[in-house]
Symmetry: C2
Subunit: 152 residues, 2 copies
DNA sequence: GTGTAAACTAGAACGATTCCCATGCAAAAA
DNA sequence: TTTTTGCATGGGAATCGTTCTAGTTTACAC
């Protein structure tokens, strides 16, 4: 299905900035981007889009369920395209790399805890922070820093 | 053990601002406070402490392991005194109330996941956001808003 | 094509946090 | 005791990410 159709289904007009932003987030290598990252990517591809628009659009996308917003350590938000399957995150504080995982047992226990407390859960987030020792991407921890993650 | 001893053990001089801030965080009703909350509490008790000092001291306390910093949804940080036992959080987006829980099974599964990934975990955070239907504190969801939590 | 509401841009404003620096104070040296 | 040294402080300015405002442009139903 085209991006344009995705947007209309979400009740949003298919404007140029929105289409561009969506396409950037859909690139496989994009995964977790800050608003600033998206803005820079737009500039790099020669698009005239204001930073304010990026923030507005990302927030709209979040409301529409097209993207998911994460608040990693350090305060700033990172966005990820919503491809359906829920998952949690492991963040390497050395290289800033973000890995994903899904554990049914954890999900089930969370449901249980909420039930016990009489709590209706809208969303939950689970992040693990540490170092990717022996992680196999390019041999080891890549030392490349991704904005919005890790410690200084 | 006195606060003064706690500070010295953490390698920090026992200065007045630090003692005051520590004592505020130790009050049982304090639990989860923003830097601003701590600052206001100091002003209320007639102390002359700068906001910058509050931030600086809280960060030092965090490094020393005396307090834990949380990044709840909404961006701002909330601080909680570290009383040893690790726990996770359930945040009511209606009233801003924060509840704590600990589930050994979840902790164990997390450890397992990290192990599988060859990842050394320094810390992790698990938050559930929702509404505290039927929660029994003062009958129900108290509608009192706590800074740094919840949606607008 | 045209009208209208929605979306856009740039820049100002905002709130949280950090930086800067002159001053204060307490432990170590003389 | 006096001097020195160095960390801690307070206040305001600066910075950062994010949101708001005003005026202009665009998408889409007619």
């Amino acid at each position: 299905m085209s991006d344009s159709t995705d947007l209309k289904k979400a009740g949003l007009k298919a404007t140029l900035p929105r289409l561009k932003i969506l396409s950037i987030l859909e690139e496989p290598r994009a995964r977790h981007m800050t608003a600033e990252d998206v803005y820079k990517a737009l500039l790099d591809m020669g698009e005239e889009v204001g930073l304010a628009t990026v923030y507005r659009v990302l927030t709209q996308f979040e409301s529409a369920g097209l993207v998911i917003r994460h608040n990693f350590e350090g305060g700033r938000s990172v966005f990820e395209i919503n491809q359906g399957g829920h998952h949690d995150h492991v963040v390497c504080v050395e290289c800033g790399e973000v890995f994903e995982f899904y554990d049914p047992a954890i999900e089930e226990r969370q449901r249980r805890v909420a039930e016990t407390l009489g709590f209706h859960v809208d969303s939950h987030s689970l992040y693990m922070y540490g170092t990717c020792l022996g992680m196999k991407r390019e041999g080891r921890c890549s030392k490349k820093r991704i904005p919005g993650t890790g410690t200084p």
